[in-house]
């Protein structure tokens, strides 16, 4: 079964600085997706970025980018120019391809952006 590990329970970063959140996973399959979700106090789960395992190029969405190392099963999220609105809990998640497949989540990391 797949597992997702986020070993940092919390991090803090100064506004406008860059922060990297770590995630590792384990699977024996080749076709899957990796995701980072943000959960602010409103508790709504918001997709930050996704990465298809078959793509070598790292995904980028504005200030958010990932470092996807498939062989090492590592998937870190870099947030550039951190903003106060980035303060939230961040979850790394794994899912096989297929609409009927569940997502498996890491424990999450609480990110605080300091003014």
């Amino acid at each position: 079964a797949q597992t997702v590990t986020q070993s940092q329970p919390e991090m803090s970063v100064q506004e406008a600085e860059t922060v990297t959140l770590s995630c590792t996973y384990d699977t024996s399959e080749n076709n899957y997706y990796l995701f980072w979700y943000k959960q602010p106090p409103s508790r709504q789960m918001i997709l930050v970025i996704r990465q298809e395992a078959y793509k070598q190029q790292n995904a980028t969405e504005n200030r958010f980018s990932v470092n996807f190392q498939k062989a090492a099963k590592s998937f870190s999220l870099k947030i550039s120019d951190s903003q106060l609105g980035d303060t939230a809990m961040y979850f790394c998640a794994f899912g096989y391809t297929g609409a009927n497949s569940k997502l498996t989540f890491g424990k999450g990391i609480t990110l605080s952006v300091r003014p």
């Binding site: 009927n100 497949s101 997502l103």
Partner: protein
Amino acid sequence: SAVISQKPSRDICQRGTSLTIQCQVDSQVTMMFWYRQQPGQSLTLIATANQGSEATYESGFVIDKFPISRPNLTFSTLTVSNMSPEDSSIYLCSVRRAGTEAFFGQGTRLTVV
């Protein structure tokens, strides 16, 4: 994308009672997923609901405690039965489209007193 309407958004319930959470999706989906998020914790899958068949429960979750209905391809309910304070959590429904990301309802914050 998918728009998911989940209600109630929050409730405070007496122990021993039951609460039914509703989840409506804006278009048809095969599977709907129900997650529990205990305070300060990650999301744990309770069960997967497929229209026309009994839900599939994850280890540690049973149908008597968390009965699920899936009457059609756009709607599902999760009932939390015979509640105790340990059931105080956020409950979220979710769907996936075309095998990509999951979309979530707004969540139901349940407090059992």
